[in-house]
Symmetry: C2
């Protein structure tokens, strides 16, 4: 019998979405356990004491696997089904490079650009985000997905045309759309936690 | 005929060391091209326009592969020889997790703790570094290397006994020691660039 797969997640998290899509593309049945991130459960803290973040993947009795990109690679390697990363080593390296690029150079400055109070610092992050999205845009030119014709690595969105086409192709995919939350619910959720995020981001910058 | 492998590196870089050890463990012949990072070459900027960092791996005519951990995974997958990452998917996930942990949670705060001028901010990074090294120390208890008995994932060092034993075991390895620079040369090199690093680190923090 296959070992049970559980995913600790939270509503609206793009990182959790990434892990869910990986499991669904591999046709792995899983139980989704939703956390309230303002009041983290003992289950989450016990399984991810280092980062205390979602998603966390529990597969049978092994200690948890944390970090969404690591979960994607694990799901790809541990389960049968269509490969998630490209098969060729060089193409795999490129997929990992752009996934990391998005994580480090797009998501972080994007969130800083959205939530920072200090106008000058915020402007710097706006410029950085736009410059890095332009690099992504160039990378996507003429392609349906980052790694070719199928749903490959998973990312954000923007006003650039190739990125917009990608976002449309990505969210239209049957497997993906089955685990996307309704837009209104997502917007309401973000509106509800806006002040808390803003405070955390500004405190983070003041620390350094 | 095997395609030529070139590694763009810089003296004393632990990230370049990581890539060199991977190539040597796989017995891949390579040409090391040393950069002067105060005056980056057209070759480096052309092949790594996004991060502008070393190491950069050139394999045949393909576009470059950047980022040391991605180079390690590529070398592991593209060349025959002993596996660098563990073979079991779960163990691979753990190896990747700790390599990322070291990169994000140990190296960065460590450098901030060493180079920051502001006493209070520096103290925060000292505490963070020590707390995270304690987690690594616990992870290494009773093991020779992070992934078992062979040279596995590659990291820093500290005053903790298990980490110290690891550092000794790691640097005593024949493949590793063959591409480590002499200690005196390394110290002189760091002393020479101390002021420049200090200035860059402090400017980075002031930006945010």
């Amino acid at each position: 019998m296959a070992e049970a797969v559980k995913l600790i997640g939270a509503f609206g998290s793009p990182f959790v979405h990434r892990a869910e899509v990986a499991l669904r593309l591999k046709d792995v049945p899983y139980e989704l356990i939703l956390e309230d991130l303002t009041n983290k459960s003992e289950l989450l803290l016990r399984h991810n004491p280092i980062h205390k973040t979602v998603p966390v993947l529990l597969h049978g009795d092994r200690p948890a696997i944390c970090e969404s990109l690591l979960i994607v690679e694990y799901v790809d390697e541990a389960f049968d089904g269509p490969p998630l990363l490209p098969v060729d080593p060089y193409d795999r390296a490129m997929a990992r490079f752009w996934a990391q690029f998005i994580e480090q150079k797009c998501s972080m400055p994007f969130w800083m650009a959205v939530w920072l109070d200090d106008g000058e610092a915020r402007e710097g992050f706006v410029r950085e985000t736009r410059a890095n999205l332009a690099l992504l845009e160039a990378r996507l030119q003429g392609k349906r997905f980052f790694a070719g014709d199928g749903v490959g690595c998973l990312v954000g969105a923007a006003e650039f045309p190739a990125l917009r086409s990608w976002a449309e192709a990505y969210t239209s995919d049957e497997t993906v759309s089955a685990c996307l939350p309704p837009r209104e619910q997502l917007v309401a959720n973000f509106a509800g936690k806006k002040d808390r995020i803003k405070m955390a981001v500004n405190a983070m910058v003041q620390r350094s």
